[in-house]
Amino acid sequence: MEWIALALFSTFILFQMLYIFIPLYTIKGNKDVKKLKVEKGFSILIPAFNEEKTILNCLQGIVNLNYKNFEAIFINDGSSDQTLELLTDYLDLRPLSRTSSTFTQFERINGFYQSEKHPNIFVLDKANGGKADALNAGIAYSLRKLVITLDADSILEPNALTVMNQAFEDKKVIAAGGMVQISQGFTGSHVKPKPVFNVPGLIRYQIIQYLTDFYLHKTTQAKLKSITVIAGAFGAFQKQALIEVNGYRKTVGEDLDITLRMHKLIKAKYKKHKLIFVPNACCYTECPENYRGLFSQRFRWQKGFIDCLIHFRKSYFKNLGIPVSIYILIDSLILGTLNAYPTMIIPIILLITKNYEMALFFLAITFLLALSRSMVAMVVAGRFGHHYSNWDKLKVSLFIPFEILTYRLLGLVFVTVGTILFFKNKNSWNRVDRVGMNKQNYGEGIRIPRKEVG
């Protein structure tokens, strides 16, 4: 029993150390955006299902991009709310005929429209088929070689495409994940956003988690060729690659699924290609503000994870490659799910064997690792220009130790309940309640009038 605990714990320590020290030593912090002469063409796909509260925020981000060579396609996935009407009103839509490619099947298309106001923005109206289905339709109607997938509740930073353009200069890049920031953690304009920490604890917890997950985990995984997931909120792909894997699969974890399929494709066909993480390409997403919304989101993530875990059961190592298989099976599954939460489960093992001192030791080490990890996350975020005011820095440093012992334990609930829910009810598409709060604005000149939703 103790030996199992030690083996698990040592593995946990090893993975945590990688997450701490690889970013610490490799991230030099490069905030400059180099504008290349040639803009590669991007198709931004935004699947939207009942997103009336956030869709115009998303549109604001698109309109304000410092980039010319792109098209944005909003895919209305059979919304029952005002999503389509809002888009129609604001964009001044005119029907347009465009032939779609037929690489895969998707639900019935009701119409394809172009905006008179912004000729590079389009709306694809289709029958409801889920996010994966909507993305597939979007791919079929898109014209550019590079595809950006963007959540309807996410707002692109004005330089996001400029940075992505630079990232795809490397022809070996098959897909790239962007940095997802929590919009509630910023104030001021989108052109010069300012990080703030005077937000409720539940959001603080998510801010720290996102900074850690992206700046530390994605950087480390990218270095070790083992990016497990390119976040659905903001990712970029070579369209050709998406088509070669027949697009998205219908699952609650379609982003994890497509990432793993990119790995399979690399392993099978494009040996020298890679997935990367582009920390300077940012988008802002609104995180759940209450427990109900957060639980529903995380249960969905966990269900998606378990679904993919099973779906790819025959592909580990041989087809997916060793690095990503190790990260999925050891870091995500054993340390993340089976263990639920190493800080909790290992002490429990030791309490059963009545080895209290050992439990204390494991807790102390875990606390040290958690503290170091969050600390490095904040430092690394700073290197990317994510600077808090001194007052907020103090708040952060007081909050982190508290958070480790409180909010972070929620992770235990997410993975346990999420896993149980997966096996109980495989197909439900849980949704996050959007509140449509946004502390950022675009200044008077470019503010889009919000229509009252009734």
Binding site: E2, W3, L6, I20, F21, L24, Y25, K28, G29, K354, N355, E357, M358, L360, F361, A364, I365, L368, S372, M375, V376, V379, R383
Partner: protein, 311 residues
Amino acid sequence: MRRVLFNLLFSTGFVFIFSFLIYSFSDTLVHAFLPGSSIFPKDQTISLSKCQDWTQEVRDFQLEPGEEANRITVLMYHKIIDDQQIQDIHYNDDQVLQETIVLKSEFENQMAVLKKHDYVTLTKAEFQLFLENKLDIPKNSVLITFDDGFKNNYHEAYPILKKHNFTALNFVITSHVTPEESKYDPIGQQYFSIADMKKSCDVFDFESHSYNFHKRDEDGEAYLIAKNKESIKQDIAVSLINLNSEVPLFSYPYGEYDNETIEAIRDLNIKAAFTVLYDDVRPGVDLYEIPRKTVFPDDTIEDFKEKINLK
């Protein structure tokens, strides 16, 4: 520059705190993961006090003249191993059972012989009084002793002794006692756990076989001979703290000792000490050189009867 400095400071700090934690808990870690290499804490007392009260009991045997013993046998055992669980490891190079082992079936037979002939196992108080000629004891008296404190004593010998209502002295090397319980494995060199001792203290009278001096130096000389008197005293004193016996007894590891050893244990107020000299015990014997008869694995039941002077 600031970045490099921070990286260095952070890494140093991390390594420092990490090492500090490992260092602070090193005893616990070693204990949990390398039970063989860990040794029982020097300052810890195994609290058996009440349970060992019987060792001070003195019975009135109400003997008629002529029924009293003028000599008795002190038997010595080490390991008792179940016949079914004997493995290659229990044999020596000549393919005979190691000298320190007695098969459980043999031990059972031997105890049955004692029972059949109404033998009485003495408490240490009775035994001492007998040696000082202050107590008459039956002719069929015996003192059973075990050396080293092996875990198999609890698993194999204890139930048999208990069944016959016998008691025995058990000389434990206290540094080998384990605070945590581990599964009994007849192959391993396992010693009593605290729990084993607590569960068997109604039958075993736990006495000292040194703390950690059941060793030989590089020349093959036993520590009780090789080491100076002061360090011998220190080591045995620790075992007395561990056992916290009011009237401590001792048995010499390997049966080896010299005048200095005797002086050392005398200084520690130990009342009597056992050797491995093969002889009967008579009143008036030197209390620090009490003979014992080893029971060997190849002893027949006749050999055994002879040992206990049963004709």
